[in-house]
Symmetry: C2
Subunit: 201 residues, 2 copies
């Protein structure tokens, strides 16, 4: 029977191995897309033996689903950290929209998009992803409301936040194959003014 | 040397073969996604010999790029046909937004999204797709301006049309894995009112 002192390092090692595998999965998705992401490539990239990889995540769907949860947490953490530096006052809304736009055009969005598109035609991945994405979507909405410091019980606020996130998702896709930043910046300048009006009591 | 009478049917047959291959490619993308779309599967689905397929489109990238152009034309044609039945007057804007929302959640959008995502990590496809998508994007913008019957030289009109298309693209992605129609309808009700204000001189 393992003692408490041997059990704890073992759990820590397991967690560290899992974290390395999930990071490597996200990197693989960004670099090679869904079809180029195989469990073998991920294990090699993470420096984890094939046996250990199979022990923690027996299938590609299991590995990738765990990576999505990890990815969503990383996206939310990044946003929260960056948001700490934001000013209060009237400039805040503009900066929050800029932060969100960065999140929706960054590598973590790209990795998530690879999975959404793959899940459309992959039942196992889809079954794992759909409930998770519902949670992630709600969390992103809540985080945006908190960053903007608005009260969702006021009429129109909920819809304005939703439209902002849907617009940013569309802009993220528009940025996939070529640099759309100039057009996006101009469009968001207009959107920020509209949003300020929609959110002002 | 072929006479004019033998040449014409031959050209017609070639065009018919090409059209069948392109339709089969689009259907394959919708049903099986990018990774499940192979030139062999497409040729079989189209009822075209492997030799004829290779004659018209020697690579997957060539086949798929031609299918994108075909796809874009089909999307624009569908919109134009449906737009003919639209009323003039104040209801028109709402109906145009509904038509566009259908286009961005329909099978042809899904096929295009498969290609955009695949092209991110596939240089050959990307090189073929980027110039084509620029044209398609401009055409979609022009068509929306025409359907709405607005004057783009007025300040704010161009940005409002762009924001509508980017929002609809985001809503299309949100609809990929589950039916988002109830949320989308509510959000678009609000958006139509905003758009009417932005477009009214």
């Amino acid at each position: 029977m393992p003692t408490a002192s041997t059990r704890v390092p073992q759990q820590e090692r397991s967690r560290a191995t899992q974290a390395r595998l999930l990071e490597a999965t996200v990197e693989c998705l960004i670099e090679h897309g869904w079809s180029g992401t195989t469990t073998t490539v991920v294990a090699a990239r993470a420096g984890v033996s094939r046996g250990a990889q199979l022990h923690h995540y027996p299938t590609k769907a299991a590995l990738v689903t765990a990576a999505v949860a990890h990815l969503a947490e990383r996206r939310a953490d990044e946003l929260r950290t960056e948001a700490e530096a934001l000013p209060a006052g009237p400039q805040r809304l503009d900066r929050v929209v800029d932060l969100l736009a960065m999140a929706f055009t960054g590598p973590l969005f790209v990795a998530a998009l690879e999975l959404w598109v793959a899940a459309r035609t992959d039942r196992e991945l889809r079954n794992a992803l759909v409930p998770l994405e519902a949670t992630v979507g709600r969390e992103m909405h809540r985080l945006t409301v908190a960053l903007l410091g608005v009260d969702e019980r006021r009429p129109g606020v909920r819809e304005a936040v939703q439209a902002t996130l849907d617009l940013l998702r569309g802009l993220g896709v528009a940025n996939l194959l070529s640099d759309d930043s100039a057009r996006r910046a101009a469009l968001l300048t207009t959107w920020k003014r509209q949003l300020a009006t929609l959110l002002t009591p």
